[in-house]
Subunit: 452 residues, 2 copies
């Protein structure tokens, strides 16, 4: 945040805290507080405590994890409870979970101070698995009934809005007496109808057929539906088609960022959740597990080298050159692996075109094998004045890059086929292949062609 | 796509093609066509040609790149022109660009068959740089004027909607006589006002202050604004604050996916654009450039090994073990690098907390260095029956993982500081460090401690 922006927001915030009417966006207040946190902690806490409850929850949710935790610890149970109550249900659940992560006793105390009905709603929403749509839904929707008149619904909307019960209403969800979702009517259409009409007269138009997700639908399907249908919001229903809530695009955007982070992290041997930890010991431990697996594969590669120790002793140039073959294989394979993992995630590769993708990746890697066989063969020849050494490294390069392309594509495709995440563990499997094949091909060929 | 889904969509589509009224979503038709493409190409083209122009453009845009290209080539100029005309301006621009990519003569012919006004609009929109907001904006917005009555605006909306000129209207953009954006009023608020009121009476409420992006604003800023303010749509303005168009969440979702793909690809030495190519030669060439840079760093590492060839000849175990040190450094460094690159992209690391992040990453990597020094030291001792060899590899492990953590964090932070993309080229820089430091530390220590 720029200095002049900070000064501007500070000025507005001070005025608004006095008047009690906050028009700054919670993310602006959060950005200012984040700045303040590192500049002047006392002032940070002073302003935090002065924030009206209508914005407090939203501001807390916009703060970075570590600052948020400290902020929550500084606030009273009453204040936290009110902040939760002022939030939409999906955000309320998030804040309650944040409080629980710090101290589950505190969470219980906060929940006891929340209006009973809302408390139960939060508890229901909290119970949905985080890998399903239900965990991201908010229950605040504007419902109308099939036999209701448009003008009566609008009158109800006016009241609900005045009470702050609903906001961001782009659509009216029309339900029958069993709460089953019958139609979704955009407000832009609704205002064009005769306000004396009943919803029953309107909802038969095909364009109002609802696009929904099931509350237990996996997050990946939810995202796909949003992308395929270009949605801004989607209704959530249960087995019987009863309306439970809705999920808005801002939550889906967060989910997409999170999934991308997870993919990037998994490819590098990281766990997303562990990396959100502040505790250095925890982060170290999680990363160590991955490094331990990597150590195993590195030792396996060393065994391969050990098979040829006599050959290396005769031609020490082999020791000098052998990491090049392994490294090039590792890099070419990582290129292939990354493309296939990402295209699988985006749905650009599926079973229909998997064979084509595998072919393409193998050919691309093989072609690069040929290119670098020539380049590296010439370099090795000139460097060590031995043309046979050039031939050996050239052949090893071709073999290893062919293996890199083929396994770089096959490994994620196989993991996907057996229902695993193609990003998890695939790079360590691949490196095992490119190291073992690389060393074995290079040293094995050298033994045959140079020693005898 | 499942067989039963295919049959269902085929049945509905056949009926609807006869009646001429299509209610299937373009993405459903596209999914069916994609299936058909690999099953029965003739039928694919037959159905494609029968699709009404109202949906043809949207269906084309939903098809995978390679199928889309072939489909476009099969359609007449007239049909393509009408398909473009039926699309919203942002989508029209996309389709025209797709046509241009295939054949710029065809693009010119298509443009000549489009209504002149719309043609100019498409050309203006096409001229915006793809890294700025303007390239993703659509010009179809619903504007109202400050001195207009609410009911007159609604009457206009009715007409515009009937003509298919606007859709997905969640908000009314209120402009003054110079087209300057004065307020954004959600429809849900508008319908609660007296329809005889003038907009001038309403727009002074602070909550209607417009959140906008400038037409030249970088895409990253656009995304950040969407995420910070939880937007579903944002207005686009020029230097004078005049309303030019809007960007909706579905486009932002596409942009976020694309940026994530770019990060993942860049980390693996891939170019996103090149990977969209069908041409194997082009893909091979692009990837070869990266592999060439990698070859350079691998040769550099080999030079380091070459410095110690006599030592290796005496202790061939060094050749067996040395890839382990380099590999562990590479992996630990990649973990650090990936976390820092991603957190920089998400704005979780910035200059305020860069030092803290650098400290954390270095400490985590150093701690893992200590853990694996003990493990690998013991293994080397037992394996080769030489406790000094164990000490050498242990010390080398600590040094290399310390370097890996430090440089894994410093490299992307430095690239960001000098205005470069922290994901591009950082992993090759890092590998150079971990290879060179790894080999030098291990072989250097061995020379000092084992030989003398």
């Amino acid at each position: 945040m720029q200095k002049d922006e900070v000064l501007k927001i500070r000025h507005i915030l001070e005025t608004e805290l006095k008047s009690g009417e906050i028009t700054l966006h919670p993310s602006e207040i959060a950005a200012f507080l984040k700045y303040l946190y590192s500049e002047n902690k006392e002032e940070f806490f002073a302003i935090l405590r002065k924030l009206p409850e209508e914005v407090l929850g939203e501001v807390l949710l916009e703060l970075p994890e570590s600052i948020k935790d400290e902020a929550i610890e500084q606030l009273s149970v009453k204040k936290l409870a009110k902040a939760v109550e002022e939030l939409d249900s999906d955000d309320a659940v998030d804040l309650v979970k944040d409080i629980e992560d710090i101290d589950s006793d505190l969470e219980q105390k906060v929940l006891q101070n929340i209006d009973k009905e809302y408390k139960e709603e939060i508890e229901t929403l909290s119970s949905y698995d985080e890998s399903t749509a239900g965990a991201y839904m908010q229950t605040e929707v504007f419902k109308a009934y099939v036999d209701e008149k448009v003008k009566d619904a609008i009158e109800r909307l006016r009241k609900l809005k005045a009470e702050g019960e609903v906001s961001n209403i782009h659509q009216v969800y029309v339900v029958d007496k069993d709460e089953k979702l019958k139609a979704i009517i955009p407000l832009e259409d609704l205002i064009l109808y005769d306000f004396n009409a009943k919803f029953a007269d309107i909802i038969h138009e095909k364009k109002y057929e609802p696009i929904t997700v099931h509350v237990n639908e996996p997050v990946a399907e939810l995202i796909k539906k949003f992308e395929d249908y270009d949605l801004a919001v989607v209704a959530v229903v249960d087995d019987e088609g009863r309306l439970l809530g809705r999920i808005t695009s801002d939550d889906v955007i967060d989910l997409i960022e999170e999934q991308a982070t997870e993919q990037i992290y998994n490819l590098a041997g990281l766990e997303e959740e562990a990396e959100e930890e502040e505790d250095i010991k925890e982060v170290t431990k999680k990363r160590a597990w991955w490094l331990l697996i990597n150590l195993g594969t590195a030792i396996l590669a060393s065994f391969v080298i050990g098979l040829f120790d006599e050959t290396i002793q005769k031609y020490v140039a082999l020791a000098v050159l052998m990491p090049i073959v392994a490294s090039m294989g590792g890099n070419a394979g990582t290129q292939t692996l990354t493309v296939v993992v990402r295209k699988l995630a985006l749905g650009e590769i599926d079973w229909q075109n998997a064979k084509k993708a595998l072919m393409k990746e193998t050919v691309v890697s093989l072609l690069n094998g040929l290119i670098f066989a020539v380049i590296m063969g010439a370099i090795a020849w000139i460097w060590f004045g031995n043309h046979l050494l050039g031939v050996v490294i050239a052949l090893a390069m071709i073999i290893n890059l062919l293996a890199a392309g083929f396994f770089g594509a096959v490994i994620p495709l196989f993991l996907k086929k057996v229902g695993q995440d193609p990003a998890v563990g695939s790079s360590v499997l691949l490196t095992t292949v490119t190291d073992v094949v690389g060393f074995f091909a290079f040293l094995g060929l050298a033994k045959v062609m140079l020693v005898h």
